[in-house]
Symmetry: D2
Subunit: 382 residues, 4 copies
């Protein structure tokens, strides 16, 4: 039986790369580079095969997937002539995309009604295509940090409040509420609030559904969490860690807004003190440079002291294509969460922290320790 | 009871920094930054305290330790006015330095006689100062790869051959032979041949002595083994890894000789295929730039492919002071090996692979896995 | 006859390095690395020799020069044991430092009275030491951009307004007003408002005095104006130029204030469109990283298009010691301005644009063209 | 009347990009980014327009131009779908390519016969297409430094020697000899020996033909000659300049051969001492990294001293596409040389030094001074 992957933000760069890539893999036009779960450590975990994944989703943009894929081809994210070769699959996924809920949606009749509409889109997808289950992955534009609301604290309060007019949940959390309501596992691929509210944790546990997040770790933070343990293990005293991220694309345009950028910065700056055990000097900048398109350049500058206080430094420059880094992780998360759902896992799956900048329910930020945790957990899924 | 640390290459930059630093720590003039074994993971391992270490050694150079320390002060390796403040300790260690055996030593009467002289220096040091034991650490200039000799294969053959005229062992291995003969644990801090011969392994096991090596991992390779697992765990396909190392100082001058540089290059290039599981394009250069003094700059350039073959890159620039990075590891190794000796460990201590570019008896090159191994082993020493 | 150099901000890092360095050069303890005017192109320009410069100045801080020099020694800006060896000269300059006017000075009796006090300090210095002339160089902390005031537009209006209570001029401009009033050439080494007001230009011309500025070009901008012409001359289309500057020290602490940082950023971003002829994407960050002390690291990332629109990039990392870069330029400017004054130059000396990020009265930002202009002008001074 | 451009190495990356780009410009499918002579400084110089250039050439490889252009499209050097759109022009140029002379050509009948064949190909091209004149540009694979031969010293000796069996000239010089013999201006775009022999200079002067070279300055050396004058003008003391160049492609494969690499290294290392006036420490590496394809990454590390001997550094990383950088310069050189020929210029055109790493007959290596020289010369062509 096929497994559904419902992408919130289905016409974005990440989503388009996911759908194109999955089709290319299925057609034997590409090898699964970047897919963690294709490695031997996951061979016996009972994950749904990549070629059994079926795609749909919500978006508020109107550019159809095949056109977006062409744009990504021109930008060098999707190699020529792949988008053309899998056009049929892109059209199939496009046919499963439904209108989402924008940030400024009319909430005069309460957000519960909106959520019911979203949930209906998902259950309809599952039933119509006869899917074993659906994993919902939020890959929509990053939102600003949400305004706290008392109804975020308990499911009862939330259920009541959503029936009243006015905005109680930001869109990302409304999607999470709808997804769980529709009986789906849920993944926060972005730093938006999403499922990270006590009321939604309650809902997931009540419904016996797994969730995971948040903010996929694909670039600067990935390198950070690989490097920082080196300093810690060697007892070298890191004094400052400064970073500048330059990116264009849709994500860059979104993060150019200081409020949305703030969500990302918070998420990015979490890992370091966690690994080093003490705060360090230095800031993280995120600059929008439209000319870079979907490519991101990150420069990090680290100063540290060695024996007798001698000052040293390490710099790195990362030049990556964000969507190409993110897409295989979406596939990995969909497979792992489908299996977690199948195995009855309820609540946060902390073992997936390996994939995230700001892992829910996990204090371990060291990349390799996170991988060890993931591998061990995969061993229990068999 | 005190523990002796016998440094082969006792008047070099690393050795001088070791002796100065240990004195500064004892006097409360510095904190043990860079000393791995001062961390909580080693608190219960029964290691000899840092202030019970006593220093002596062999060298073929004549600049006395206090003068060398002044030079390192001017070069910024030892902060002002530390060398002056611990002058007394430097003089004490200087008084325990004995003439070593140069590469072109006269071997007309066989190398066994030379080895007996070296061993006598060490046992004399141990007995005169009433030391519990002595750990010999080879921190002398890197030698070219050794010429193979049939007597390297068994202790019996070696013992016989050393009595004959002619060079059977390179100096580093002669020091190892003498150290083991004197009943001491032995550490190969350099890529020289040293203890890495079947005959010497046999000797260590026969005498119940631990040994470890080789080539301390302090700069480019340290970062390499922290970063390479990131690519492996994320299933990203590394295609090339190129490196250029610029360094001055005594070590830089030695490695400017192509033969000695070759030993280092071999050692540096070992880790990568081990971690990635496949060969990659790219070379490692070691350039002598006298103006850099004891500072090393390494630039590494890595290309890799992500999802759908998209090409990305990572570069890093490491600017470190080699002696400041190496010295605390010498102290760590001395403490750990003294304890291993005390606990009766015989043969290679593979759990110390964390410290080395080319770990003896260990195939694990991933830095954090090596640390996990070390920590677990430390737990067994209690 | 000696020439006076009056430093506003006389106890800062730049000023201290200037006084220490001039003394070291006089004593033959150092070579004039970084002194542009010691080159053959200036041999016949009739400049006052370096060893005829005598120092005094204003400051609002109280740490005496010899103590500040020791701090800079510990920080590696002034090599050991130079500060000690020229202690006598530091004390002599310290004896010529007078209290300055802080930003929040009491202006109840009008700023004219304050300016008269400042001018008196300078003329007293000139007369007491029998100096041929005095060049005033503003090297005090950077101020925020000044609030516009109608009296800035003409000397008559300014003269009247300064007699009234209230703040008409920011401190930097009050120093410039006092310096010109005292018959001195004036240099704006910082991006503060200083002499850059129509009323002060009028004063300089009326008094027959030269002035120059502003904001010495010592690091990132220096490299920028050397590199940008390369792209222009080769018809390569620069699309983005992003920069991050990390610095500690007094200057770093000042620029951490967004208002003061803004003055610097404006000054730094001026050169690029001037050279390239069109705006480019990208921002310039200035981050305060206290651990870096007087050392600055700047990373610049440039994207450009070549033939057929192919995208390429250039990155550079500059690691400099700001005070060591600035100090010799202060000496150069003092010598050149003393000569300009002697030769009767009145108003802005645009030929000194080579030294500045935001050259007064000059639109040429290309470094080498600025040098050619300077050299040609030096030829006319003979 | 049209002007011919005869490319030696006509099926290489540079040549293919030249022909494709010229066609794209003519068809209005691209803008002339990177074409120096399209700037206002050259508007009145009477250069032949870009759309009057017609291409042919010699090569020893057999992959036809349209196919090579497709390969460069896949490699990202030529943007999609340009190669397809100008296919007709590629085929036209392909029809004008004639077999060249390989390095190991049979010289049993003397090289004069071979040269006559080459010359005939060129004159046939000129006459058949009714071209005003032909400029020959050598863009074939770099050769090792040539073996000196007495006949290189005079035209008379050379003419005689070429009639004898055996190799007197390397292929690049044989092409130059043939080109001049055919009455064509000649450009050495590579570091090969080419026209740089006294005998060929004599030939050029005798025939009243201009020539220029050598080794186009497109990457690391371009940046070097833009940056080095900054240090000189600021009296900063450069102590070391180290460089590593990583490149794939045909050129990378050629330069992986130590002998050919040596020609390039010599050419690359020439500029620095010329600008700085003194030798510096540091080496230049050229590494073949096939995975990089036609993209080159160069890392340069520079150490310098400032005031009071304080040590600082500058690093840069250049990531460029060599063929895209080289191609517009071929067009520039063709236009400028055609005009120089028309105006009767005979012998080396030193004013074209701006384009070369190792400019013939010119000691000026500073990029902007070279540009000023070029611009002034263009002014005389009107
Ligand atoms: N690419 C990476 O490496 C990476 C890593 C971590 C997190 N992320 C996050 O993934 C998200 C997607 O990145 P992207 O590059 O695809 O961005 P994108 O801008 O290309 O796509 C975002 C998509 O979300 C849609 N969207 C916006 N608001 C919506 C709403 N209310 N409902 C439904 N759809 C909505 C947009 O229309 C757009 O199609 C971003 O939040 C980004 O921060 C990406
Ligand atoms: N510093 C690091 O980070 C680091 C890391 C790994 C390995 N190493 C190795 O440590 C060694 C020491 O480095 P260093 O910077 O102190 O070098 P150094 O040149 O300053 O010191 C080497 C010392 O060894 C002495 N020596 C040479 N041959 C000898 C012999 N036959 N017998 C006795 N002494 C001899 C020399 O006289 C000198 O005093 C080198 O082999 C280096 O490759 C250093
Ligand atoms: N170092 C460089 O490369 C460089 C380049 C360009 C410009 N500058 C400018 O030079 C200035 C000095 O830099 P620094 O590193 O010496 O800074 P610093 O903070 O070490 O010194 C500034 C000095 O100015 C004094 N000061 C502050 N307000 C004053 C006032 N109102 N009157 C008199 N003195 C006052 C302070 O007390 C301090 O002693 C800064 O404005 C900096 O932006 C420096
Ligand atoms: N691309 C740049 O930025 C740049 C800069 C300076 C110099 N160059 C030089 O330009 C040359 C061409 O570079 P490329 O990247 O096009 O290299 P390439 O390897 O792609 O092309 C070289 C061509 O020369 C041909 N060739 C080899 N020997 C020949 C011979 N004896 N006669 C005729 N043709 C012959 C080859 O068959 C090939 O088609 C190289 O020498 C390179 O060093 C290039
Ligand atoms: Na091993
Ligand atoms: Na100006």
């Amino acid at each position: 039986m096929d497994v559904g992957v419902w992408l919130v933000g289905a016409r974005g760069s990440v989503a388009t790369t996911v759908v194109t890539g999955a089709a290319a893999l299925r057609a034997g036009l590409a090898t699964p580079i970047g897919c963690v779960t294709q490695g031997p450590d996951f061979a016996g975990a009972g994950l749904p095969p990549l070629d059994r994944l079926v795609f749909g989703g919500h978006d508020i943009a109107s550019t159809p997937l095949p056109k977006k894929a062409e744009e990504l081809s021109r930008a060098g994210v999707i190699p020529h002539p792949l988008a053309e070769l899998v056009r049929h699959d892109l059209e199939a996924a496009e046919a499963e995309i439904r209108p989402g809920i924008p940030a400024a949606a009319d909430t005069a009749h309460g957000q519960a009604a909106l959520a019911r509409g979203l949930a209906r889109d998902i259950t309809d997808f599952r039933e119509r295509l006869g899917l074993a289950r659906v994993v919902v992955v939020h890959v929509a534009s990053t939102e600003p940090p949400a305004t706290p609301h008392p109804a975020h604290q308990s499911l009862a309060a939330l259920t009541a409040a959503l029936e009243e007019p006015g905005e109680v949940l930001p869109p990302s959390s409304l999607y999470a509420y709808a997804a769980l309501g529709a009986g789906c596992a849920y993944v926060d691929f972005t730093p938006s609030t999403g499922v990270s509210l006590p009321a939604l944790d309650e809902l997931a546990r009540e419904r016996g559904l797994p969730y995971a997040g948040r903010d996929a770790k694909t670039g600067e933070t990935l390198v950070k969490t690989a490097l920082a343990p080196m300093f810690a293990d060697r007892a070298l005293a890191v004094r400052s860690w400064s970073g500048t991220n330059l990116l264009g694309g849709g994500d860059g345009a979104t993060l150019a807004d200081p409020a949305a950028g703030e969500s990302k910065r918070i998420s990015k700056e979490r890992s370091l003190p966690g690994i080093l055990g003490h705060p360090v000097e230095g800031r993280t900048h995120i600059d929008h440079v439209p000319h870079l398109g979907d490519w991101k350049t990150a420069w990090d500058h680290i100063t540290f002291e060695g024996f007798l206080g001698v000052r040293m430094s390490l710099q790195f420059t990362w030049q990556g294509c964000d969507s190409a880094l993110a897409a295989p992780l979406v596939l990995d998360l969909a497979r792992l969460m489908a299996r977690a759902h199948e195995r009855g896992h309820a609540g946060p799956v902390k073992e997936l922290g390996f994939f995230f900048k700001d892992p829910i329910a996990l204090d371990e930020h060291r990349l390799q320790s996170q991988y060890d945790l993931l591998r061990a957990w995969a061993g229990t899924l068999a």
